[in-house]
Symmetry: C2
Subunit: 483 residues, 2 copies
């Protein structure tokens, strides 16, 4: 028996899936960039079963890859091709453990689908604000493990800001449990912060307590046309001022992103007839039955028009029109796929640098020439730009994009580094960005990460090869392992 077979033999048969048709749903990543193999998918039904699995894997030094909804962009949940790594999914652990309305908190199993949490909160007339394109299939455990961002982070924060407490199984099988949904707690180190965004490499998140908010009683959405990109952030500041910081989304959409999409999906409605270089989908919301948010947005709009920052715009006059705006925004990634796919750069800079980054990045791609097309969009209110490069129409996209990856991407990342930005704003590192981390990351930080990994997971069983570079590239391994 191989070591992983010894582990499988000790587990209840009901939680072991050997059917390769099911396993195959996890061995290729969402973007089809990585493919691996796995002999089994484990589907525990409780935290205790997760702990049992992890303990056995630790004893036998068998690698475990935690999978969620398989919606990640960096191959963070794809096993390697050894066919020896076991997959573990928490898809059977999807209890809403508790909603505490007066405490504005919800406690959930990590296998809950994000949209199920939205629904559970809505049932209690409350709202969980994390909002992602993949919310119908991603799991909250994955959102926490990747510290997901999304379209409402500008108001409600990223996942880290929404987590009040965690339960997790550590790599030795111990259960770290701190689910109490407290808003202030200063009893020593904030250990659970380390698990948020650790992509399953320091343990498996099994449950979480999350913050809830009051739902909107009114919501105003507008689609704005802008010609001068440097007006972007001053416009955001103006909107925040008029609305009392009630902006829930401030999504930039370049004209090319919009045109690429509309060319392939003409049934989607163009919100503004007039052509423009840049668009912003802005949304504000309030729980107040008293405060006239629509008047605040109208005053903002008039001010922006009179200062010629906004060249045209439409304020949604119905829920349908609002959904039409969002439909455009949410189909942009699909628009890229329909145009042959893209090389994605999920970067962040200071919000004050977004306009300059977009300008300089565009110049870089123009200099490469050869008809490369750009789809630029993102959560610019958080300084988060999706800067994606496409092949020209009629060209072999995969070959062209390969060249973009080797010729253009390094220059874009150089630019990001020069601006003190991040080469991974919301996608994490997974396996896809480890080499970027080697080039641009801070060696002191990397060294520390390795030390923490060694302390928590000395046998390297938790999602090996992801997030932290593997042990053999460390120069001071010896020292690290035995301090």
């Amino acid at each position: 028996m191989t070591t992983y077979e010894q582990v499988l033999a000790k587990l209840p048969a009901e939680i072991v899936v050997l059917d390769q048709d099911i396993i195959g749903g996890y061995t290729t990543d969402f973007r089809k960039k990585y493919t691996g193999k796995s002999p089994a998918l484990l589907r525990p039904r409780s935290t205790e079963e997760v702990a049992e699995i992890v303990k056995l894997c630790n004893e036998h030094s068998v690698a475990l890859v935690p999978v969620g909804g398989n919606t990640g962009y960096c191959g963070g949940t794809t096993p390697d091709d050894s066919d020896e790594q076991l997959l573990i999914s928490l898809q059977r652990m999807k209890k809403i453990r508790e909603v505490d309305g007066d405490n504005l908190s919800i406690t959930v199993d990590a296998g809950c689908i994000l949209s199920e949490i939205h629904d559970a909160a809505a049932q209690e007339k409350l709202m969980f604000p994390l909002s992602l394109g993949s919310q119908q299939s991603c799991q909250i455990g994955g959102n926490i493990s990747t510290n997901a961002g999304g379209v409402s982070a500008i108001r409600y924060g990223i996942t880290r800001d929404l987590v009040l407490g965690l339960e997790a199984v550590l790599p030795d099988g111990q259960i770290l449990s701190n689910l109490s949904p407290l808003r202030k707690d200063n009893r020593g180190y904030a250990l659970h912060q380390l698990l948020i965004g650790a992509e399953g490499s320091l343990g498996i998140v099994t449950a979480a307590s999350l913050r809830l908010f009051l739902p909107a009683s009114s919501r105003v959405s507008a689609f704005l046309a802008i010609n001068d990109i440097s007006d972007l952030i001053p416009l955001l500041a103006k909107a925040q001022q008029y609305t009392g910081e009630a902006i829930t989304s401030f999504e930039y959409i370049s004209n090319t992103s919009l045109e690429l999409l509309l060319a392939k999906k003409p049934e989607l409605r163009r919100p503004i007839a007039e052509p423009a270089k840049h668009f912003v989908l802005i949304e504000a919301a309030t729980s107040s039955p008293i405060l006239p948010l629509d008047q605040a947005i109208e005053a903002f709009f008039e001010d922006g028009m009179s200062e010629e920052m906004i060249v045209d715009g439409a304020i949604a006059s119905s829920e349908q029109q609002r959904l039409d705006f969002w439909n455009l925004r949410e189909h942009i990634p699909e628009g890229e796929v329909l145009n042959g796919g893209s090389v994605k750069h999920d970067v962040s800079v200071r919000t004050s640098d977004t306009a300059r980054f977009i300008e300089l990045g565009t110049a870089l791609v123009d200099r490469f020439g050869r008809g490369a097309r750009l789809s630029i969009y993102g959560h610019v209110g958080d300084g988060n730009v999706h800067f994606n490069v496409l092949a020209p129409a009629g060209v072999n996209a995969s070959m062209f994009l390969e060249e973009i990856s080797t010729e253009v991407s390094p220059r874009i990342y150089d630019l990001v580094a020069k601006m003190d930005g991040s080469f991974s704003a919301e996608y994490g590192l997974g396996q896809d960005k480890l080499s970027l981390d080697q080039t641009y990351g801070d060696p002191i930080k990397r060294n520390l990460m390795r030390k923490f990994k060694n302390v928590l997971d000395p046998r390297e069983i938790m999602n090996p090869g992801k997030v932290v570079s593997s042990r053999n590239v460390m120069s001071d391994e010896k020292e690290v392992q035995c301090l």
Copy 2:
């Protein structure tokens, strides 16, 4: 030469203070509960000098105690009585390195006084929201190292939520630098989260990038009288709803806290003539010139009155009246001192449990009897209750309070534990609460903290004896040290 003398001999003389009059300002804690000794206070002028000091201390295994404004409540910066621990103060490092208005961020040296950061933000017509009673003397490095809370956390979060980036000197003298003020960044583990709230035990924070917000263009404050404590949190929910979650403070003040204060400081103005059991100081703010926050608060007030949740109240009609309200709130700790001092319990529970906690806690103190008086107040919007017990008038306070500590405090902490709350909501552990952590803390968490401490600070030089229990109480020390 002793080892610390060897360290001092290698440092520039200008940064070494041997004057015991100056050193004496740090060897007794703010509450005069702990006194230690130290041969020298080091006052580096730059991050590099901090690194040099730490490196030397590490080489010679000399303990370093980072001190800030000496405003902490848990003896976290008081040296032991060995007279061998060196103090290090960043009081000379107080540059505002940068204010980036468009990015809503400020980057500051860790020695900046909190109020200096308020001023620097205000100069750029922006606002840094961390607000504490000690803001004229506490340093931001200390605020970060204790993850300070304060009176506006309900809207803007605790210190952790306000930190975008950190620079810190690690216990081996390496500089971990991640000051870029990005709102989204998912490049591996969130190491700087571990330094926030670590009370100087994992390194010395030397600088930080912090979030700024728009200043209020209007602000409404009200002092409300409530007779049924169980109305407290529903009232907060109502206020949040009417104002669109614009509440910046929701401070509970028990009638006894108010009366103790007014008895000693009759010059302070009583905001409501009518007697009541409970009071709330509520404040809302908005940057909007359009949204009528005063109308929202008035509607809230009328609604609360008509439902008989609010029995009486005053909405501040002038800035002076607003300051009068806050004057009361901020003098409550002084009111306790003037009445012989108190045994403090800085606890947190779910906001939904605050009323029940106050009721059950009061019953515990009543059961002890003997005229013990209670001063209960705090940031109940965050579930954070300051539950303080005083001696009756005319009794030897120090003896009585000693008894409270041994007879009553354990029961209060038992109650907190039973409610899954925290025995340290915002004060941290320091040296004062290590024994509470031994009783009520999670051994798995404590064990992990010790592992992290060993990895980062194997020679135990950084603020030893604080936050993490000392090495010799660990049962699995051997295993921890060499995994």
